[in-house]
């Protein structure tokens, strides 16, 4: 390999559609297909948000997010050096690239605009954030108010007598479009503060790195971390339910590997205490169990409300601890005083009064913005996204019921249609219902769904390059640096990784320090959580705060995706659990059951022994 080659990732045009999946590829919107001009730009695979090939419907998450992110950066806050993020899809993978502003005069103009807008937000942060929460709650209430899409045989008589004048089939389009509109609106809200929040945090981060060149990312994160953030609340609710179970004397119902349905039915039967606990469960579920077991970007990242296995898996452990007299409460006061001590200790190391003054300003600003940075995910990626995908699922059920996905069709099949195709299928159904004739969908969609199912399976088998195109000299786009943690250095690392031979060591972000050796349990989905044994090391793809309840069981955690500011990193630090995040390939390279060493201080994972002892049958 020559030096010139070393600075180059494959060109987009050299990336081929996996044979046999051309139809599925062509179904993605035209504006997401690579074109020859794209060879002149730099792209990277957004494995952080979209680590798996995308179902066609789920692509709306990329689309709506980049519509809103672009508007916020380019036109609302007017970031001086960066506009939005372009995205392309190939083989179900999302590649993105930033649009930089390079003309000095334009940057200058944008600096003026930016300061009038962004600085206003910083100055009025609390008020604007309060009104943001109200907007989100209204949006969520609107989504909850959307009826379930249904088609009666006849228009209900009362509608006719009331002179409604709009028939039931119109409601399908109305609900669908409102739901799509709501999803887009949610993403606008999502980005209303996000870059400014990360920017204030990064400013403090940048200062710390200059003042303390060897400070770890995790130390800075700990100085900034919020204490009342919504992300901790679901886990707190599980603890509360464990405590209530003990108080009500129904704790013996909760055992490892329990059948949840049976437990709920039993509790309903055993009298008032059981019913009271079920009431407590309902209180916790709304809204706190609207947390996604993934990042909320895929329809199959179901929430605790959809699948209780995760919170219930944690109950026996918490109950045991409570009965053993252990305090499992989150020690908020202690955490706050530890954070204050940390901030004071670092401050004391600064050499000059000027530095201490700047430090005070910047930590103040970071603390001001951080509740949003940590809290928005619960409202956006978790709560709203969960409602959204479940509403689409209702359309899936209606279409399946009307034969759109064939004889064995399932509601989930709806996610193989793009949002545009889904609207056409809904209109097809509306037409059929109105006309009194068969819709065309049942003959049209089953083959397409089958083709796409096969394509997704196929795409998942093909690894995709981390980046495409020429490596830029510098990465100045604050969005890319902040949201994806991508710098010129990380690109060089990716290029170097391709050249290295196989090794038994994986590198990632050092999320929480400590060294642990143990058995790797590679958990690819929430359904597999039951396989975790006490003391196992969790190896998973996406790290997420909703997994927090199982942290009590594991001795360390490793993930493919995530940075030192990822929610898992934050939760791991709270639990003092050694963690390495963002390894890229841990779930692929570490065999289930392997003996591994996790060094959360250095950000390394070492595979010590791959061979597994075969279990006796």
């Amino acid at each position: 390999m020559t030096m010139a080659d070393a600075k180059q990732f494959p060109l987009p045009s050299s990336l081929k559609v996996v044979p046999g999946t051309e139809g599925a590829q062509a179904a993605y919107p035209y504006f997401t297909q690579f074109v020859p001009e794209d060879d002149g730009k730099f792209w990277f695979y957004n494995s952080m948000h979209f680590p798996e090939p995308m179902h066609h419907f789920d692509m709306i998450t990329a689309e709506a997010a980049y519509v809103a992110l672009g508007a916020a950066n380019t036109r609302v806050h007017v970031l001086p050096t960066a506009k939005g993020i372009e995205h392309r899809i190939i083989n179900g993978r999302v590649y993105i690239g930033g649009v930089a502003v390079t003309d000095p005069a334009e940057i200058q103009e944008r600096v003026g605009e930016f300061q009038q807008r962004a600085f206003y937000y910083y100055e009025h942060w609390e008020r604007l954030y309060d009104s943001w929460k109200e907007k989100m709650k209204t949006l969520i209430a609107d989504a909850l108010a959307l009826p379930k899409p249904e088609l009666p045989d006849y228009e209900p008589l009362e509608n006719v007598h009331a002179g409604k004048g709009v028939a039931a089939n119109h409601a399908l389009l109305d609900i669908y479009q409102k739901q799509i509109e709501g999803y887009h609106r949610m993403w606008h809200h999502h980005f209303e503060f996000l870059l400014l929040g990360y920017g204030a945090y990064m400013t403090f981060f940048d200062f710390c790195k200059k003042a303390f060149p060897e400070i770890s990312d995790q130390a800075i994160s700990r100085m900034v971390a919020g204490m009342e953030a919504e992300i901790f609340r679901p886990d707190e609710e599980v603890k509360r339910l464990a405590r209530r179970a003990v108080e009500l004397g129904v704790d013996t119902h909760f055992t490892d590997g329990m059948n949840i349905e049976a437990v709920l039915a039993d509790l309903d039967r055993v009298g008032n205490a059981g019913k009271e606990w079920l009431g407590e469960l309902e209180t916790s579920r709304n809204p706190w169990f609207n947390v996604s077991s993934g990042d909320g970007f895929y329809h199959y990242h179901r929430s605790w409300n959809d699948d209780l296995s995760l919170p219930f898996a944690a109950l026996p452990g918490y109950i045991d601890k409570i009965k053993a007299g252990a305090n499992i409460e989150r020690p908020t006061d202690q955490l706050i005083s530890e954070r204050e001590q940390l901030v004071a200790d670092y401050r004391e190391l600064l050499d000059t009064d000027e530095d201490r003054a700047t430090y005070d300003q910047l930590i103040g600003l970071a603390h001001r913005v951080f509740p949003y940075v940590e809290g928005h995910k619960f409202y956006c990626e978790h709560w709203y996204t969960n409602l959204f995908f479940n509403k689409i699922r209702e359309f899936g059920a209606l279409l399946a019921q009307n034969g759109f996905f064939g004889a064995n069709g399932r509601e989930e099949d709806v996610f193989h249609l793009t949002q545009y195709e889904l609207e056409s299928a809904i209109i097809d159904l509306m037409l059929g219902w109105g006309i009194g004739a068969e819709p065309r969908g049942p003959r049209h969609w089953p083959a397409i769904v089958a083709e796409r199912k096969a394509a997704i399976k196929e795409w998942a088998k093909h690894p995709t390059p981390a980046a495409l195109g020429a490596v830029p000299d510098a990465i100045d786009d604050p969005a890319i640096v902040m949201l994806w943690g991508i710098t010129r250095e990380s690109l060089d690392r990716w290029l170097a990784a391709d050249e290295e031979g196989p090794t038994n060591e994986l590198k990632g972000f050092a999320a929480c320090h400590g060294v642990v050796e143990g058995t790797a349990r590679v958990v690819k989905s929430v359904e597999e959580i039951g396989r975790l044994q006490q003391g196992d090391i969790l190896v998973c793809q996406v790290t997420n705060p909703t997994w927090a309840p199982i942290f009590q069981k594991i001795s360390a955690a490793v993930s493919d995706i995530g940075g030192s500011m990822s929610h898992m990193a934050i939760v791991a630090r709270e639990y003092g659990l050694p963690a390495v995040v963002g390894t890229g390939t841990a779930t692929q390279r570490i065999p289930d059951g392997a003996r591994i060493r996790v060094d959360g201080g250095r950000g390394t994972v070492t595979i010590l022994e791959e061979a597994r002892v075969l279990e006796d049958a």
Partner: protein, 349 residues
């Protein structure tokens, strides 16, 4: 400690005693007083040296002979060095001085023949800050008995009249009047592991990290560079360990049966094993922070862990390389804190 004592016990010394007990001795006293675990010992003071010098001058000039030297005349310097060092090592000590050292040694070892000592020169200016004491870092380890201790003390004094040291003083026109040497006598630690610790990064000057280097056996192997030590970097405040470089430590230095030390080959399993546990690293960090807080500035520390696992501090001196640099603000100050965010949003950094 009274000004005319020939020896001073660590427990009675403070950093302010530096003029009579040297930087090393004063620091060990200060650490002892601060409650840090330091192997006990005493300092043979500059007063003891002055008494000896007076006795020497009575038979033949010393200081005037040095002051009369032409620094460029290497032969003359070499000849005088030879003469003076021989005199310092051989002419009788004033009885008062000799008795003081022997008695202190007896008290330190409690008459136990198995207890050995380290004898180290302790210059009266801070070691690293004054190049006039370059080459005067004599250290004699595993000194077996009282007579040998006296002999080593004399050798430390004699190093004041090394060719290198005298040449330096003459080149810089330093008066001989102020030239004196204190000597530290300290109980020897039979170290399982020993090394150094910097309470700031030697490479970046970062005050938020502690760098620890350590190897098996006595710390002399690390200080002299005969062994590549294991190296760790840890957060001073957080304790997180961000670097663990475990090196191939082919030998360790251990006490020789007849006094002194020798290099011992290490078996393979020890060569590549970390010389410190994580708990020991944390204990070192804690004591490093304590000492730094006590002095109010970053420190360069020598430490040892004995066979029983006790952590002992052998020396602490102020870090000088980074501390000597001008302290400019990290970033320009801003009246409006929001202007700082332009470092992130404003373009090329």
């Amino acid at each position: 400690m009274s000004a005319d004592s020939a020896i001073g016990w660590f427990a009675d010394l403070r950093i302010t005693d530096r003029p009579t007990v040297g930087g090393k001795g004063a620091s060990l006293g200060e650490l002892t007083h601060a409650g840090i675990d330091v192997p006990p010992g005493f300092v043979v003071t500059t007063h003891a040296f002055e008494l000896f010098l007076k006795a020497l001058e009575a038979s033949a000039p010393v200081r005037t002979a040095v002051e009369a030297l032409d620094a460029t005349n290497l032969d003359a310097v070499t000849a005088l060095s030879k003469t003076l060092r021989a005199r310092v090592e051989e002419e009788p000590l004033p009885q008062q001085v000799e008795r003081a050292i022997l008695e202190a040694h007896q008290q330190l070892t409690d008459g136990d023949m198995a207890v050995t000592v380290a004898v180290r020169s302790s210059a009266t200016t801070e070691d690293a800050e004054d190049a006039s004491f370059a080459g005067l870092q004599d250290t004699f380890l595993w000194v077996l008995d009282a007579q040998d201790t006296v002999k080593r003390v004399r050798e430390c004094w004699g190093s004041l009249y090394s060719v290198e040291s005298m040449t330096y003083r003459r080149k810089h026109g330093l008066p001989e009047e102020g030239v004196a040497m204190a000597v530290v006598v300290q109980k020897m630690v039979d170290a399982r592991t020993a090394g150094v610790m910097f309470t700031r990064s030697p490479t970046t000057g970062d005050k938020s990290v502690i760098t620890i280097e350590g190897a098996w056996g006595l710390g002399s192997a690390v200080v002299s560079g005969e062994v590549t030590p294991d190296r760790w970097v840890m957060g001073k405040i957080t304790g997180e360990i961000s670097v663990r470089d475990i090196s191939d430590k082919h030998i360790r230095q251990v006490p020789a049966p007849g006094g002194g030390i020798f290099d011992e080959e290490l078996p393979d399993d020890m060569r590549n094993a970390p010389a410190l546990s994580d708990d020991e690293l944390q204990a070192l960090r804690a004591v490093g922070r304590r000492i730094e807080k006590h002095y109010g500035r970053p420190q360069d520390i020598e430490w040892a862990i004995d066979k029983a696992g006790n952590l002992l501090l052998l020396q602490s001196r102020p870090e000088t390389v980074w501390s000597a640099r001008e302290q400019a603000p990290v970033v320009a100050t801003q009246a409006d804190p929001l202007k700082h965010v332009m470092t992130i949003f404003g373009g090329r950094r």
